[in-house]
């Protein structure tokens, strides 16, 4: 019995040590990490700098009567949503109203260190890159958003002249009419000839927006996608094919490297502040709560390690305020532990045995911790759903911090506190900040 507790205790310690190791150093070879560590966290534009591009609207010839300001504004919000979807919450997209253009600042991609305008352009150009690709029969059965963009490319956006919608005279449903440029006709004829009876996927970036079935070989420049589309659906699909979901294609006229507003120095400062804050919080917990405080400090290092691992492996970009948020969560993260230890202390003061006190302490504290955390999670979820940009990013880190601190408190702290009672010194009430024998006994 006693031995199994001691074993569990050391097993938990070893597990936490492993977490910390992974968080710092990652796992796997330098270039193809299996698990990414602290050094591979994508730092935000304020810390590392990034790319600043000026984009101008590139209306196809003969376009008339467009409200340029309106198009730019909606292009701006679409680009914002797309970058949000990639976990890049720290970008600036400005509409320059004087010159009718968009200035977009985005942070370097992960592992990008050297400035190469060509590469940067590719990254920008890839938002909304349209491709027609082969899709295997098995993949074509999947829901649209799960079809992988892995098949050979048949056509890309450059090959398509235009797309529009029209009503089918008999069925009343709408079709999407496409017209290819000369460059695309032969390629498409070859592919459709080969793929009769199979599907072709239409992708924007990696997202499949349509996967029509090929009925016959198409060797003309004009063809259509038939389906039971409503007018809105057909128009939306045609618009996406035409412009890659932007109301107007945007052409970069210049791409520059932009220096960090704050720089590496600021990152170092924030990291040093984090280390000092971590040490001080642990010191306070140990001085005040003694043995449980030490256990809480160990649990806190697990919490920080888990946070680092999550951020590094999801590719969410971390800005300086984001690091501030992590530091804050160190202070707030011990809260659940504080609630539990206060409860254990109270039970001990009432003269209960140590084991009984620990059990009731965790049980009674659980409801309080749950209620208080759920309200915070409500805030985080609403922010994530409704917010854009930094607000959305903040929703992620806030929710993450709360969930992780809840999990570490009810699992790691609990396992450590229960199992450490295997050791003689850990059964002295004095080590829990309560006088021997209980205050009231």
């Amino acid at each position: 019995m006693k031995d199994s507790r001691a074993f569990k205790f050391f097993a938990m310690l070893a597990f936490i040590a492993l977490l910390c190791y992974l968080a710092f150093f990652g796992l796997g070879p330098e270039n193809s990490r299996i698990i990414k560590g602290a050094n591979e966290i994508r730092t935000g534009i304020d810390i590392r700098g990034g790319i600043s591009a000026i984009m101008i609207p590139d209306y196809p010839e003969g376009t008339q009567g467009r409200d340029v300001a309106e198009d730019l504004a909606s292009a701006r919000s679409i680009m914002e949503l797309r970058l949000d979807a990639q976990g890049i919450f720290d970008k600036n997209i400005n509409v320059d109203a004087t010159n009718n253009r968009i200035i977009i600042d985005i942070p370097w991609a992960q592992n990008e260190t050297r400035f190469d305008p060509r590469e940067a352009l590719d990254e920008l150009g890839s938002t909304g890159r349209l491709t027609f690709r082969e899709v295997s029969d098995a993949d074509a059965m999947l829901p649209l958003n799960q079809i992988p963009a892995t098949g050979a490319i048949i056509l890309d956006g450059e090959d398509i002249k235009t797309a529009s919608q029209s009503q089918h005279p008999q069925t009343g449903y709408y079709n999407v009419d496409l017209e290819l440029k000369d460059s695309g006709v032969d390629k498409f004829a070859e592919a459709t000839g080969r793929l009769v009876g199979h599907h072709i996927g239409i992708f924007i970036d990696d997202e499949c927006i349509s996967a029509p079935y090929v009925r016959t070989t198409i060797n003309t420049s004009k063809f259509f996608i038939e389906g039971d589309f409503s007018l809105e659906e057909a128009k939306a699909l045609a618009d996406k094919i035409r412009f890659g979901a932007l109301p107007v294609p945007l052409k970069p006229v210049s791409v520059d490297a932009i220096s960090a507003q704050l720089g590496q120095g600021a990152l170092d400062v924030a990291v040093r502040a984090g280390i000092v804050a971590f040490a001080l919080v642990c010191l306070f917990m140990i001085l005040y709560y003694r043995l449980p405080g030490l256990l809480a400090s160990i649990a806190l290092s697990a919490l920080v390690a888990l946070q680092i691992l999550f951020l590094a492996n999801t590719g969410i970009s971390v800005t300086l305020p984001g690091i501030g948020g992590i530091i804050l969560s160190m202070g707030m993260g011990v809260d659940a532990n504080v609630i539990i230890f206060e409860r254990i202390k109270e039970e001990l003061r009432e003269g209960k045995t140590l084991r009984a006190s620990i059990e009731t302490g965790f049980k009674r504290a659980f409801v309080a911790i749950m209620d208080s955390n759920i309200t915070t999670i409500i805030v985080a979820v609403v922010l994530y759903i409704l917010g854009t940009g930094p607000v959305k990013g903040f929703g992620v880190t806030l929710g993450l911090g709360v969930i992780l601190s809840f999990i570490t408190a009810v699992s790691i702290t609990k396992a450590l506190t229960r199992n450490i009672t295997a050791f003689g010194f850990a059964r002295k009430k004095k080590n829990y900040g309560v006088r021997e024998g209980g205050a009231d006994a």
Binding site: S259, L280, Y288, V379, T388, V391
Partner: protein
């Protein structure tokens, strides 16, 4: 149990309410006198790009220009590569964003250039790469209104959750009191931004949301005790239950506040010593929010609830 009470939270509630209201009134009058400072991300402004002969300290330029213009200035340095690949020419651009309602006047543009020259920045004034543009707010009305909507919806959901979980405390009054305490904290933070003339930007939204999460935590822990004690201490009156509950949770409240303050004050000190403005504003507002959040949880939320309940009782007995 009653012997545990060393301080009567309920009896002294008028003092606590008065302190909060007085501070908020001071902030309000400061707002009326001074108004609020908005960052360029919130209200747009003017962007000037000026070529430089060599690398410059963008932070220093921002400080000098803010003094000269008396407006909020953000700066960054850009490395531009122009020309074809063989004959690529590298140039260094200083990008100056000035937050302002109206575009900068020619005089102000001149002032920017003069200030940079006088402070010894290696600017190339006649360069063909230099330009001036007006910038729409990047955190437009949409983002801001969505952020506010998010706060509103989360408040309503929190209200519903508390009303449901704390029905023993006659839910609605408990929920409304908790949300009033939240609004109190938000106003305090807004007030600090106004009082210290810290410009509002996206970081502020993040800070205020953090405190909403933090402060509601504190309040719920105290409610949780009231809920538990209401079952155990059925013979005691409500004031005693509230007092005992606040007192029993006090060391937890204090300790969590201490650990959180340790973290944010450390951040604030590091940011101040190293002169990192964006972290200073963020951590300072968190320090204030943290203190306000603890204060409102201990002295306001449960007291408001008790006040409301006892008023209801009175009207019931008299009617």
């Amino acid at each position: 149990m009653t012997s545990m009470i060393k301080f009567d939270f309920v009896k002294n509630r008028k003092i606590f309410f008065t302190i909060s209201i007085a501070i908020l009134l001071v902030f309000l009058s400061l707002y009326i006198i001074n108004g609020a400072v908005l960052d360029i991300t919130f209200r747009g402004g003017t962007r000037m790009s000026i070529e430089c002969g060599q690398m410059v300290d963008a932070n220093l330029a921002a400080v000098k220009l803010e003094q000269a213009l008396n407006k909020k200035v953000n700066t960054s340095v850009m490395e531009t590569v122009s020309g074809s690949q063989g004959a690529a020419k590298k140039s260094i651009m200083l990008r100056i964003d000035v937050a302002s309602e109206t575009p900068l006047t020619p005089d102000e543009e001149q002032l920017v250039e003069d200030t940079l020259v006088n402070e010894g920045f290696p600017v190339i004034l006649g360069s063909p790469n230099n330009e001036v543009a007006s910038i729409e707010p990047s955190i437009g009305r949409e983002t801001l209104s969505k952020g506010l909507l998010a706060v509103l919806i989360s408040s309503v959901l929190i209200l519903i959750y508390i009303a449901w979980r704390f029905s023993i405390m006659s839910g609605l009054s408990a929920a409304v009191s908790a949300v009033i305490a939240l609004i109190h904290d938000c106003l305090m933070m807004l007030g600090v931004y106004v009082a210290f003339r810290i410009p509002f930007n996206d970081v502020f939204i993040a800070a205020i949301l953090t405190i909403i999460g933090y402060s509601i935590n504190d309040t719920i822990i105290i409610y949780d005790r009231i809920r538990e004690n209401a079952r155990i201490m059925q013979k005691s009156d409500m004031a005693t239950i509230v007092n005992v509950s606040i007192w029993q949770t006090l060391s937890r409240t204090v300790n969590t506040t201490v650990t959180t303050l340790i973290a944010v004050i450390t951040l604030y000190i590091f940011a101040t010593v190293n002169n990192i403005a964006s972290l200073m504003g963020f951590s300072l507002s968190l320090v204030i929010g943290c203190i306000a959040g603890t204060y409102s949880s201990v002295f306001i939320a449960a007291n408001l609830w008790h006040w409301w309940r006892s008023m209801r009782m009175k009207t019931k007995t008299s009617g």
